[in-house]
């Protein structure tokens, strides 16, 4: 059996070689991929794009999420938004490093998770964080959904950006990584635009909607502004589970529900 030979070769390389060994790294690619929560979906609720808008934007989204969790187990991640921008600007002015910015930015995503948690409490939806992920299966099984602050837990260990000090891996990356590690069926980014445009539609009237595009194409066109974090594209190139994401407009009723049902209602970005 080729599978067993591969597995045997991998085990022997693991015990004898350096973890930097190229042959070992290639052998580890032959390992199978087990999806931990294949029925769950990750939904990211934008901070600046939705939660900062208050009731007009958030109440309808909560209604859709409550409705959707009957059919789809949901892991709901939150973005940070305008307070994080204030913190980043202030901390950068003070000469503080990216690690400190990550830590304080993460608290803002956490506040937004708490806000959403209070709004969804009557529907039995808890907020989880840190070690709470260990019980995520129970929450999804019993409550149909769980909410988490979208910032990845990198804190002082965040990567350094090429320029400036703003953390490169923020809530888009954090939410996508949850979808990737749990092997979820879909990853939906809920924002305040119909999807990805050729430029920022808020500032450029000539911006055109891109309905679908591959990660490699998107990296190649190198748009000056993007609706999702740029480093997420590089992460997606190496996805083993979360190979497709969809960006949808949360200000338009029903689009999130349709996206969860598998419809193409925004921009789909995929690895192939």
């Amino acid at each position: 059996m080729a599978d067993q030979e591969d597995a045997g070769a991998l085990q022997s390389l693991l015990m004898s070689r350096s973890l930097t060994d190229l042959e070992l790294l290639e052998a580890s690619a032959t390992a199978p991929d087990y999806a931990i929560l294949p029925d769950a979906s990750v939904v990211k609720i934008g901070g600046q794009s939705l939660i900062d808008r208050g009731r007009a934007a958030v109440y309808p989204i909560v209604e859709q999420l409550v409705e959707a969790k009957r059919d789809h187990p949901l892991m709901i991640g939150t973005g940070a938004g305008t307070r994080a921008r204030h913190l980043y600007a202030l901390a950068a002015e003070l000469g503080l490093p990216t690690g400190v910015l990550t830590d304080i930015g993460s608290a803002v995503a956490g506040q937004n998770a708490a806000i959403l948690g209070h709004l969804m409490a009557r529907h039995g939806v808890p907020v989880v964080g840190g070690t709470g992920f260990a019980a995520i299966a129970l929450y999804l099984d019993q409550c149909g959904a769980a909410i988490f602050g979208g910032m990845p837990p990198y804190d002082m260990w965040q990567h350094l950006p090429t320029e400036g000090v703003i953390p490169p891996y923020r809530t888009d990356a954090g939410c996508w990584l949850v979808a990737e590690v749990y092997g979820c069926r879909s990853m939906i980014f809920v924002k305040d635009e119909d999807g990805l445009y050729t430029a920022n539609p808020k500032t450029d009237p000539d911006a055109k909607l891109i309905e679908s595009i591959t990660v490699d194409e998107l990296i190649a066109v190198d748009l000056p502004d993007l609706i999702i974090e740029r480093p997420l594209l590089e992460l997606m190139r190496h996805a083993r589970h979360a190979t497709t994401i969809q960006v949808v407009n949360g200000l338009k009723p029903g689009l999130l529900t349709r996206a969860l049902a598998g419809e193409h209602v925004g921009t789909i970005i995929s690895t192939a």
């Binding site: 002015e93 003070l94 990584l177």
Partner: protein, 278 residues
């Protein structure tokens, strides 16, 4: 450019970054970039290899701990420990079961942590304790004001949020990367990797025919990447990340089996391989 004040609404907190996607390269560039402060400019980050040192047991560890004990009188240190053979075992089990990279990272991190607990226990009498990630990230200054050193898990707290690697499924952010990132965040004076080889060689000195493995005494990070060596004594991510470093523009890899090397490296002497970024 639109005047940010014109777009200001009660739902915004006014700031230079207000209403931005934070992804527009032009707008996100600071108008008056501030130099990043070194939070702990006297800090030395010393990484002790898992496979290379810890797995060798008493004969390798005790002399090295003696040397660290002496160094505590002159240098303040964050000692980061690696994982080693138990991490290889748990990788083997988890890979066979099809578990993802993020799970592998969480499992291996536990092994680096246990090695840290052991090093801290050996230095407890000198006031050294083991610090969890959250203490290293938030209270390192206080701990190092009370004690000359602290020990921590070299793995960064990426765990389930580990990146899927470009090739295969082994977590790319391991001990050496974690130590590098925390050293840069704190603006450490020196970043030293203690291994069981004299530095970076042109091929693995443990497996190569005698005389084939040549020591590279000093190399620029990008050149090291371009050499695409079949194996490295440090994580491949370290030289890649060095290009963006704010402070740690130089690291040294030293042989911890040779008594005195760590002390010399702490004093800035060149005793192993120095990797630097331009």
């Amino acid at each position: 450019m639109t005047d940010p004040a014109a777009q200001f609404s009660s739902k915004d907190v006014p700031s230079a970054l207000m209403r931005q996607t934070l992804l527009d390269r032009e707008r996100v560039r600071p108008q008056t970039p501030q130099p990043v402060s070194r939070l702990l400019p006297w800090l030395n980050v010393v990484t002790i290899g898992g496979r290379s040192i810890m797995d060798r047991g008493r004969d390798a560890i005790l002399p090295l701990v003696d040397e660290l004990r002496d160094a505590l009188t002159t240098h303040r240190m964050l000692i980061a420990t690696g994982a080693g053979i138990r991490a290889r075992h748990v990788f083997g089990v988890a890979l066979d079961l099809g578990l993802p990279t993020g799970v592998l990272a969480s499992l291996a991190s536990v092994e680096a942590e246990q090695n840290g607990h052991m090093i801290a226990a050996l230095l407890a009498e000198q006031g050294v304790s083991y610090l969890a990630h959250t203490s290293v990230g938030h209270q390192l200054a206080g701990h190092l004001a009370a004690s000359p050193a602290a020990v921590s898990n070299g793995f960064p707290p990426y765990e389930l949020f580990e990146f899927p690697p470009a090739v295969g499924k082994i977590p790319p952010h391991r001990t050496d990367t974690g130590a590098f990132l925390i050293a840069d965040a704190y603006g450490a004076a020196r970043t030293i990797y203690v291994k069981d080889v004299d530095g970076i060689h042109t091929c693995d000195p443990a497996t190569a025919a005698q005389g084939d493995a040549e020591l590279i005494s000093r190399v620029e990070a990008r050149e090291l990447i371009a050499m695409n060596l079949p194996t490295l004594p440090i994580d491949r991510l370290v030289p890649e990340l060095m290009g963006n470093a704010k402070h740690v523009k130089e690291i040294q890899i030293v042989n911890g089996l040779v008594r005195g090397n760590i002390t010399k490296a702490l004093h800035g002497e060149h005793v192993g391989t120095i990797v630097y970024a331009e």
